[in-house]
């Protein structure tokens, strides 16, 4: 009888241990091929690096984490197929997302299925309200524009013109400037569109320069280097201001961009962590690697808290616990008062081929 009792206890302990050592599976729908593959690969590496580190230390609450990656080629329709696959077939409750179009396409499904979407790469304003189950760990473009317009008007540059791309993202940025700049005390005196991918900015720059502005507020996502060179060639002297999109290494090292100012999400990796990443992947720990590494830390912190509280990991529970924890300290301190985190933002100025922080601000 005693032997049977011991066996039963041992079996129970093994069952508990086995249950505790379950593998928690999460998803990531990212552009791993196509034009967005460069960024998508950085995002994938950020997640994988964070998960590998956690697993090497025993996982989350004794559970190993596994990520199922799906390639959406940055396409909304493909993203929906991937989302349905991960939720219906794989029964995943937490999924990383990127790019505004795909994230906005998946948002209604996330609401319906109560699956948590974590975005650490897209910045369209609509993402802020697209779904209660879409959590953004970086600010929207509108948040950044509110900060940069506050900065430039504070510097006395109150007569502004807007250069924007004539597409959804560019027009959204233009509208944000039209809203935020007057609120910050400035006046928009002219605006000129360009086409996405267009590299001849001279006519638009000349027309904007004719309005004799103090500052040109920019909402373009491509060919920024061409714009900088033509600005210099035309001998223009007004301030050029933008958002995190300005963080292009080719633009920063170009002398033509001397004096350009922009908001920059402050997210730095400690030297040891960056070195470990470089050793593992053979490349630098770029911006989107850091963003998704940070987002993975948030997800694992929330999971750990749920498991500690004895709650199952569901999209709904994950959503609630993130707002309960509210303040996270990963690579950057951030706080969730809404679905979009409040994060520290720097004002950077391009000077001597470097992007120098000249002021520390916040999206708050």
């Amino acid at each position: 009888m005693r032997r049977i009792g011991l066996t039963a206890i041992l079996a129970s302990l093994l069952t508990i241990a086995a249950a505790r050592a379950d593998t928690i599976r999460i998803g990531a729908i990212l552009p791993l091929t196509g034009p967005g593959a460069l960024i998508g690969t950085q995002q994938m590496r950020g997640i994988q690096f964070a998960i590998d580190q956690a697993n090497a230390k025993g996982g989350v609450h004794g559970n190993k984490i596994e990520v199922v990656f799906e390639d959406n080629q940055a396409k909304p329709d493909q993203s929906i197929l991937s989302f349905n696959k991960l939720t219906d077939l794989e029964h995943l409750q937490v999924i990383f997302t990127a790019y505004s179009g795909p994230s906005l396409a998946m948002a209604p499904l996330a609401t319906r299925k109560k699956v948590l979407l974590i975005n650490a790469g897209a910045q369209a304003d609509k993402l802020a309200t697209a779904s209660p189950y879409l959590i953004n760990t970086l600010p929207t473009i509108g948040d950044e524009i509110a900060v940069i317009t506050k900065y430039v008007t504070g510097e006395g540059k109150k007569k502004g013109v807007i250069l924007f791309e004539n597409d959804a993202a560019g027009i959204s940025g233009r509208d944000d400037y039209l809203d935020a700049y007057p609120k910050a005390g400035g006046t928009v005196v002219a605006q000129e569109p360009t086409q996405f991918g267009q590299t001849d900015f001279r006519p638009a720059l000349l027309k904007l320069a004719d309005a004799k502005p103090d500052v040109m507020l920019v909402s373009i996502t491509a060919a920024l280097d061409n714009m900088a060179q033509q600005y210099k060639q035309l001998g223009l002297t007004f301030t050029v201001a933008g958002t995190t999109f300005f963080q292009d290494p080719d633009v920063i090292k170009d002398p033509a961009a001397e004096g350009f100012v922009h908001t920059q999400i402050r997210i730095e990796a400690p030297a040891e962590l960056a070195a470990e990443f470089k050793q593992k992947f053979g490349v630098e720990m770029e911006f989107f690697v850091r963003q998704y590494y940070n987002a993975s830390q948030i997800v694992m912190t929330a999971m750990d808290r749920l498991l500690t509280d004895g709650q199952p990991i569901t999209g709904e529970n994950m959503h609630d616990i993130i707002f309960k924890i509210r303040k996270f300290q990963g690579l950057i301190p951030l706080e969730f008062r809404t679905n979009t985190a409040t994060v520290p933002l720097d004002i950077n100025m391009m000077h001597d081929g470097k992007d120098v922080t000249i002021k520390k601000m916040s999206t708050d």
Partner: protein, 288 residues
Amino acid sequence: MLALQLLCNGLATGCALGVVAVTFSLVYSTTKLFHVAHAGVFTLGGYLAWSLTSRGAPFLLAFVVAIAVCAATGALIQALLYARLERRHATHLVILIASLGMLAVMQNIIAAVYTPNILQFTLPWASQVVAGGGSVRLTVIQVLIVAASVAAYGGLMWFAHHTILGKQMRAVASNPFLAEITRLRPRRVHVYVMAIASAVVSVPGVLVPVDLGLQPYNGVTPLLTATIAMIAGGVGSITGAFVLAIAIAELQNLSLLIIPGEWSIGITFFIFLIFMLFRPTGLFAAVR
């Protein structure tokens, strides 16, 4: 002063477009083919020159190599694609579709070999500002584009009127049947025409990306404008295509003085639509 600067920028853009229009017109008037893949040859020239200069080759050498390779590419497209289709009695619509396919293939290969992203030449001399009159500022490369384009246009006109091959080209364009029976060998002339047009279009194909950067798909818009210039200038008129391309570029630039930029392209082409209603044969139709 804004108007003068816009005028000068329009001239540089228009001259480059003019060469595309002239070469496209040359191919069309001689072969009667709508050679859409011309946009691919235009793009190829820039990428070839970029490859060589980024590996340390002198720009002039890269320029010459790009012209030679583009000439060979044009000749091969004619000999291996269009001529074969014609021998099989393919209609012009079928050849147009083949040309579109060729363009897609070229663009995709370029995007795969290089990148779909914008590539820049690193030639500091090109972006240096040349002092113009008053406050007009033009870069070295813009001035070079104007000079090279005018030279290309002038050279092509001289070639067409003062060389035996040029006269053969005009004869084939004028009456292919007569050219055939008088042993002018139109098919061989077609290959020469394609080679010459491809070589000449690679002049702006190289110079424009030095100014504005390279993209795999950036040959299509110039070709569209060039096609309109060719039709509005009068099909078959080299001068008409060149002048109308400059006029379109100037209209697009100068229209900014009175209308917002987003209306510029629409209004420019609306003006041409009206123009074509009154003169459907084109401006220079009678002066060939």
